[in-house]
């Protein structure tokens, strides 16, 4: 353990602004990516119903269950 207290930890020997900038930007960018993936999935699922009707209408009905 190198740190004698929280203030020393946050100041990082005077380099705090650079180091915490790097870590903060990384966290923000990663969380943004996760959020974009989740939102994209939601919007795709919302639109799939329309395509499903067309896709299923074009094909002959199957005898078996869809196993859904």
């Amino acid at each position: 353990m190198n740190w004698s207290g929280w203030s020393e930890f946050w100041s990082m020997g005077g380099d705090g602004l650079y180091i915490w900038n790097a870590y903060l930007v990384t966290v923000v960018v990663i969380l943004t990516e996760i959020g974009v993936i989740a939102l994209t999935r939601r919007s795709i699922l919302e639109h799939l119903g329309r395509y499903a009707k067309i896709a299923l209408k074009e094909r002959k009905p199957r005898n078996e269950d869809s196993r859904f």
Binding site: M12, I19, A22, I37, I54, L56
Partner: protein
């Protein structure tokens, strides 16, 4: 929660199969099963890595605390190159063999690659300012990494701009392959231009400190696991979007809208 497991019928071939037999449907099921595991692995490994890197790792005699940017910078740089190679290989193989699934995988890889290329440049800039006294220099290694970022952004932009998926794959795949010839430049420029830095950039073992090395390894593995998780999660989106007119998507997701 859609019943994704029903997307695979029991009489289908096994999930893990040759790339040449990879279909979007099988890929979707496999991605859905795997991505949470990689997500949790990423969370655990990165938490350990941050603890080791920020709390346990000792102060460097020369760079003091400043070197701690390396725990992000090094894995981000490494991953941007690894993801670029993966994108170019999957896109190229997908084009050559007309494997739609591989092209989908390539387009799921690229945005995460762009993210790590950006992070490598951003954290590198923050590292360079106090050490070299400048945010940016037009030097081969930095310029090459900027090229990697632009190639990723170009790939994503082409994918987004062209509606027809096959034409989009052809255009962006070509860009990825052309850019792949620039990658050796990136790698070898590190040694060729090393005089500017005094020494060639260090490998993982170079800090000579076991705790620092452990922190770098943990962060590298953690962010690698994150890359796999994010790519698989995005792959599911890409597959659903492109296969929206197919029967298996209609049957499994149509009623859930």
């Amino acid at each position: 929660m859609p019943a994704y497991s029903s997307a695979l019928r029991s009489d289908d071939p096994p999930l893990l199969t040759a790339w040449s037999e990879a279909t979007p449907q099988r890929g979707y099921v496999l991605a859905t099963r795997l991505y949470p595991w990689f997500g949790w692995a990423a969370a655990v490994l990165c938490s350990l890595g941050l603890f080791v890197g920020l709390i346990l790792a000792p102060t460097d005699p020369h760079q003091h605390e400043h070197y701690r940017i390396a725990f992000i910078h090094t894995p981000a740089l490494w991953l941007s190159v690894v993801i670029y190679v993966a994108t170019a290989v999957t896109a190229g193989y997908g084009l050559a063999r007309r494997q739609r699934f591989l092209s989908m995988l390539a387009s799921a890889l690229a945005p995460t690659g762009a993210m790590f290329a950006f992070l490598a440049l951003w954290t590198g800039s923050l590292w360079g300012k106090p050490i070299w006294g400048t945010w940016w220099v037009w030097e081969a290694r930095l310029t090459a990494e900027l090229l990697v970022l632009f190639l990723f952004l170009g790939y994503v932009a082409l994918q987004e701009a062209i509606d027809d998926a096959r034409r989009a794959d052809r255009a962006s795949g070509l860009l990825a392959l052309v850019g792949a010839f620039g990658l050796p430049l990136l790698y070898f420029s590190v040694f060729r231009w090393s005089a500017m830095y005094g020494t060639a950039p260090h490998g993982l073992a170079a800090p000579g400190n076991l705790v620092v090395t452990a922190g770098l390894l943990l962060m590298g593995l953690g962010l690698f696991a994150y890359t796999v998780a994010a790519t698989l999660a995005r792959l599911r989106n890409v597959i659903l979007k492109r296969e929206r007119n197919s029967e298996w998507v209609a049957r499994n997701f149509g009623a859930r809208s």
